[in-house]
Symmetry: C2
């Protein structure tokens, strides 16, 4: 081994830590632990019988093309299906030139970093925000500027204030990163009025908006709020990332980007050197799921399943949680966010919780400003309803013990 191995690493690699969540997941894979830590879909959500049928069909009818290299943009039929779905939602101006397939929306986040960020460049994110996005942006030397949330998501007032201050200093962030639907980790959904406010501020300061939208299709209640991309009327100020991981199968590692063709061109050029193309085999299987109308039926099944899991969990929170703990009541997605009374430390709680065989993610990992020490992210999609309830009981016990220690 070269003696200066650690020194020859890039600044990017020197700054990389193993993902707190991924490492936690390993810790919590012991069978006796009820883990609320991951963001995994329920295994019952995977349409295995249909997958059997469709794999056989794709291999029989289109096998050679499925096994070959594909175009970097993606399988044309899949691009067209996604474009049509947006048109069906009223985004009449979307064509397949607005879409490209990516190998997971994590690749989309990585590519956003790659095409916009020089080392030291700033970007705007929510407090809290998705750790995987922050990790990707930071790997390109991006510096996150956090904007506090209220119950409607990113505060427009704080955003404008921050941008005005930055402008006065001659600074301009490269983009505003948002998860408007069922935010990860906080769980709330940004109402349309707030989306319009944020978009208008972005346009006023001429800043791109990155709309990360992994959960949009997983709405259990309430009314869908128009996408920021939609509110922008396709004028090119918004880049939207979608994924098949939560509404189909994470094992396929597939997502898509919806953006102005100029932005799509940058994504495609970047992808040529990052992985050339996404698996044509998996794309073609996905196309058939749409064509046979299996896709939406499966999404509906998932939504019903997760709604029921969330309701059971919220019921258990009401029943078991001690005084002083608060939590979000999301209208969809995979997560809710728990807050301990001010002054209590979720990291201390984590140790007690692990002893009681229940795990969660520390909220603080989602805060670029180091805040959120009394918060936790709780996943409700992966475990069964019964385990969710049992896990809440254990967590409530752990919190009571934490309270007792502090007295």
């Amino acid at each position: 081994m070269v003696s200066d191995y650690k020194e020859i690493l890039s600044d990017s690699a020197k700054g990389m830590k193993r993902s707190a969540i991924r490492e936690l997941l390993k810790l919590t894979q012991k069978p006796e632990i009820i883990s609320f830590a991951g963001g995994l879909p329920a295994k019952e959500s995977f349409p295995l019988e249909q997958l059997q049928e469709i794999c056989a069909e794709v291999i029989a009818t289109d096998g050679a093309a499925a096994c070959q290299y594909g175009s970097t943009e993606g399988v044309p039929e899949l691009l067209e299906i996604l474009a049509q779905r947006y048109r069906d939602q009223g985004l009449s101006y979307v064509t397949k030139e607005n879409i490209t397939i990516i190998t997971s929306s994590q690749q989309g986040l990585d590519t956003v970093g790659k095409i916009f960020l020089n080392r030291g460049d700033k970007y705007i994110c929510e407090l809290p925000s998705y750790l995987g996005a922050l990790g990707a942006f930071n790997s390109y030397g991006g510096v996150g500027v956090g904007i506090p949330q209220d119950e409607q998501g990113m505060s427009a007032v704080e955003l404008e204030k921050t941008l005005a201050e930055m402008k006065a200093k001659g600074e301009k962030p490269k983009f505003i990163y948002l998860i408007p639907d069922f935010q990860n980790p906080a769980g709330m959904t940004m109402p349309e009025a707030r989306r319009i406010e944020i978009l208008n501020i972005a346009k006023k300061y001429e800043i791109m908006v990155v709309e990360d939208s992994p959960y949009r299709e997983l709405r259990f209640s309430g009314k869908p709020q128009r996408m920021l991309y939609d509110l922008d009327n396709g004028e090119g100020n918004v880049i939207t990332l979608g994924t098949f991981s939560k509404i189909f199968m994470p094992g396929f590692r597939m997502g898509w980007v919806l953006a102005h063709p100029m932005v799509i061109d940058n994504f495609v050029k970047a992808k040529q050197s990052t992985d050339l193309c996404t698996s044509a085999f998996l794309q073609k299987i996905t196309v058939k799921f749409f064509q046979k109308n299996y896709f939406d039926a499966n999404v509906k099944k998932i939504v019903d399943m997760y709604r029921s899991k969330l309701e059971a969990m919220l019921g258990a929170f009401e029943k078991y949680m001690p005084e002083g703990v608060t939590w979000t009541r999301p209208e969809g997605g995979l997560f809710l966010f728990l807050t301990l009374p001010e002054g209590y430390d979720a990291e201390e709680l984590f140790q007690i919780a692990i002893e009681k065989n229940v795990a969660f993610v520390l909220g603080t990992v989602f805060f670029v400003n180091g805040g959120g020490k009394n918060t936790m992210r709780i996943n409700f999609s992966y475990m069964s309803e019964e385990m969710n309830i049992e896990g809440v009981k254990r967590l409530a016990d752990a919190i009571k013990e934490l309270y007792a220690r502090k007295k």
Copy 2:
């Protein structure tokens, strides 16, 4: 669209061009064109019947895990299979801690760039070298320093000279990038003696070696030369990249890294923010191909097929090529390299060739120093033997026309 869109792009994105090869491939997809331009496996090489059988088995017996997120390192069984294969080749010290799965070896190249290169850092490559690697390294601001090849690959004399000169200037490249087996694009294989020379120089100057090995298993004739990783006795100076794209299916987008555990750790950390994990579904299918002994039988079938294609093509070169044209006679891989007499321009030839419905890749794209203007890369794996012969005829006609124009 923000008015300064092109200005807010990162230096990386500003420097990205669409891959010359990928764009050429589009040009040459007209059915009447015989294209020697890509690096595509023959579609007859894909084991579709076995894929049918194995997909059905994986979904039936391990479907839920296959559809779920997997670990960033890769499916443990696949890591163990790859480690065992290296041990079977005499690399007794290889364990699964030396291996991680990547989403195509292109992702491996991208990650090498990400973890080692700051903007302006230098790396060593061959003249010529694989365009996709240069593109990936350059996207991180890497600056390629080209070392000429002789008929044994990278010149050890020139390498030592260059490193000594750099050292005198206080410069040190981050790594030496090599394709020792059936080099892309030049086709030659580096003999063991040269590998040892290069490795000793690398160790003397304490520089990592990146051994790109996409074709190693595709040997048609001659004796396998020990891998640089093997010659290093696993001491950590060599990072080897492998891929399933040429020996199995590019549609799976799967490769692997063989390296010291410290290097593997950097790859894993980087991958957590680039795509989290490679498809567990495709990894599990691949595991079953090994377990049922289908994998090696298929590689043998591919080797026999490509050997026959290459022989037919070399025969056609002998028969049809006009005086002055020379070409490599590779012992394996997918490519041979054609050189026109000094002073002739392959780009001018390309225009004539396209009119005659035959295409190739301009050699010059593989030279970081802008050289190779009279060279071309010719793929022999994708087209049928008959088409390969017909294509060589057309190419020979085009060269004759080029000669006539120059008179």
